[in-house]
Amino acid sequence: MTSSSATSRKALSKIASNRLQKELVEWQVNPPVGFKHKVTDNLQRWVIEVNGAPGTLYANETYQLQVDFPEHYPMEAPQVIFLPPAPLHPHIYSNGHICLDILYDSWSPAMTVSSVCISILSMLSSSTVKQRPEDNDRYVKNCRNGRSPKETRWWFHDDKV
């Protein structure tokens, strides 16, 4: 589920790679609070540890995000999913896919891995119930063939979780 999309993907363009190197350096100087980048030599796939914010439903819990960058990043959004086990959240499917508009239609090339991480943490923090999206089973079944969340036509849930 998580790696199949990676096999078909193209190498980073020079622009994408420059930009990512820049982001990586800046991340090292100034990582977003609550996140840890697990260092590998793979610039095109980042694995990032997320710590639930204190005082929220996810306090003291740790999850892992996998961020895959397309050839033409940042024109195209990165693919961001939770590695199993994904947090129980009304916008997060059990296969790790995240229903968050900035990852798809509302992506803008001025956004960065950092800003995406912050948005995801904020989405987690604002949750008032630990549960799966209503259509979880149907959606996850549809994704069995390794479909990327970026191919999903998302219908975004209400802002307020």
């Binding site: 100087v29 100034n30 509302s106 803008s108 090339p109 001025a110 960065t112 989405m123």
Partner: protein, 358 residues
């Protein structure tokens, strides 16, 4: 009493005569005005990077009690520069206490904005400084979107524009490729729509050149190789002209001999008066402290900015962690020479078609 009122009324008229349509009088007495302030050096609109509307409201005790001054709206100014602008105007108001000061305060604002008339920080697309520090990347000229004043490297924003147009074509397909639909893009930072005309000053140079280069059969090796060579040179020349005009007008911008001048680049002005000298210092030195603060607020804000904004707060605070504002190239070559060196001979850009996309 009536004499006092008359005096103040004349002052308001003076502001109106100086600022014309840029001055909106909300109340004659006690005076309340909104004045749109643009940098003095902004005769060419593509070279204008900041602007502000300031509100001045005086009480019946004016001018013994200085008026309230607030920033109604601004473009191209981050929080730090907004605050600096306001603080400096208020300082001026205190200095001038009990003198007629409405015109003087507006002039002070013009003075300040003229000094701030340059983009700040990093390009939101590639995250490299808008005004490069190292000489190797100095071929990256910047531009602003005319609609919202957000600044980008010229080739970065054009790449986004081209990307959007290509994406639209693939989405719409051959079915309804209506010519009547005007091409549109949206600002990567604020999402405000912009149109081809916002990029015109750069795009026209591209299309005129691209026809030439395609007949020569030149192909750029990377999709990033936009805007080098002739177009760049062209703009450099235009910039020289603007520079000349600015020098003639008021000598505000006086390049140092050892500076490398880029199109649209801001050169730290020679300080014109003692008071403005200190404000200038404040502007540049406050920075590190402000950044530490903005970092914290950014991560708090993150909780609120979940979905709706394309702003990348963390990038901003990181991006500003290196010194900026003052540009000190150690390069000692003259302007003309550096312009020539920056052009890489034989390199041409073409518009990249993202044919690889489905």
């Amino acid at each position: 009493m009536a004499g006092h009122e008359e005096e103040v009324a004349m002052e308001v008229e003076a502001v109106q005569s100086v600022y014309g349509g840029d001055c909106v009088v909300l109340d004659r007495y006690p005076p309340r005005l909104h004045v749109r302030i643009v940098p003095r050096t902004a005769d060419v609109s593509s070279q204008q990077f900041v602007e502000a509307v300031i509100g001045i409201s005086a009480g019946p005790q004016y001018p013994d009690v200085p008026p309230c001054v607030e920033l109604i709206e601004s473009k191209g100014l981050d929080d730090r520069r907004q605050k600096c602008l306001l603080d400096c105007i208020l300082d001026k108001a205190r200095q001038l206490s009990s003198c007629s000061m409405l015109v003087a305060l507006c002039e002070e604002a013009v003075e300040l904005l003229s000094k701030m008339n340059h983009p700040e920080g990093d390009c939101p697309m590639c995250l490299f400084p808008l005004v490069p520090e190292d000489t190797e990347r100095r071929d990256l000229a910047f531009m602003k979107l005319m609609s919202c004043f957000h600044c980008f490297h010229s080739d970065c924003i054009i790449r986004w524009w081209t990307w959007l147009q290509n994406e639209k074509q693939t989405k719409v397909g051959e079915v309804e490729n209506e010519k009547g639909l005007e091409s549109q893009g949206n600002c990567p930072v604020c999402r405000k729509g912009f149109q081809a005309k916002d990029l015109e000053h750069v795009l026209t140079l591209i299309s005129s050149y691209s026809s030439k280069s395609s007949s020569e059969g030149d192909v750029a090796e990377e999709n990033g190789e936009l805007l080098q060579s002739d177009s760049e040179n062209n703009r450099r020349q235009r910039f020289e002209t603007i520079m000349k005009v600015q020098e003639e007008n008021n000598g505000l911008i006086e390049p140092k001999k050892d500076l490398v001048v880029l199109p649209g680049m801001y050169i730290t002005p020679t300080i014109t008066s003692s008071t403005s000298g200190t404000t200038n210092d404040n502007m540049e030195q406050q920075q590190p402290r402000d950044e530490a603060v903005s970092l914290e607020t950014d991560s708090c804000n993150a909780l609120n900015q979940q979905k709706d904004k394309a702003v990348a707060p963390v990038r901003n605070s990181i991006g500003s962690s290196k010194p900026r504002g003052t540009i000190e190239h150690r390069n000692s070559s003259t302007r003309k020479n550096s312009a020539r060196n920056a052009r890489k001979p034989g390199k041409h850009w073409v518009r990249k078609d993202y044919t690889s996309r489905v």
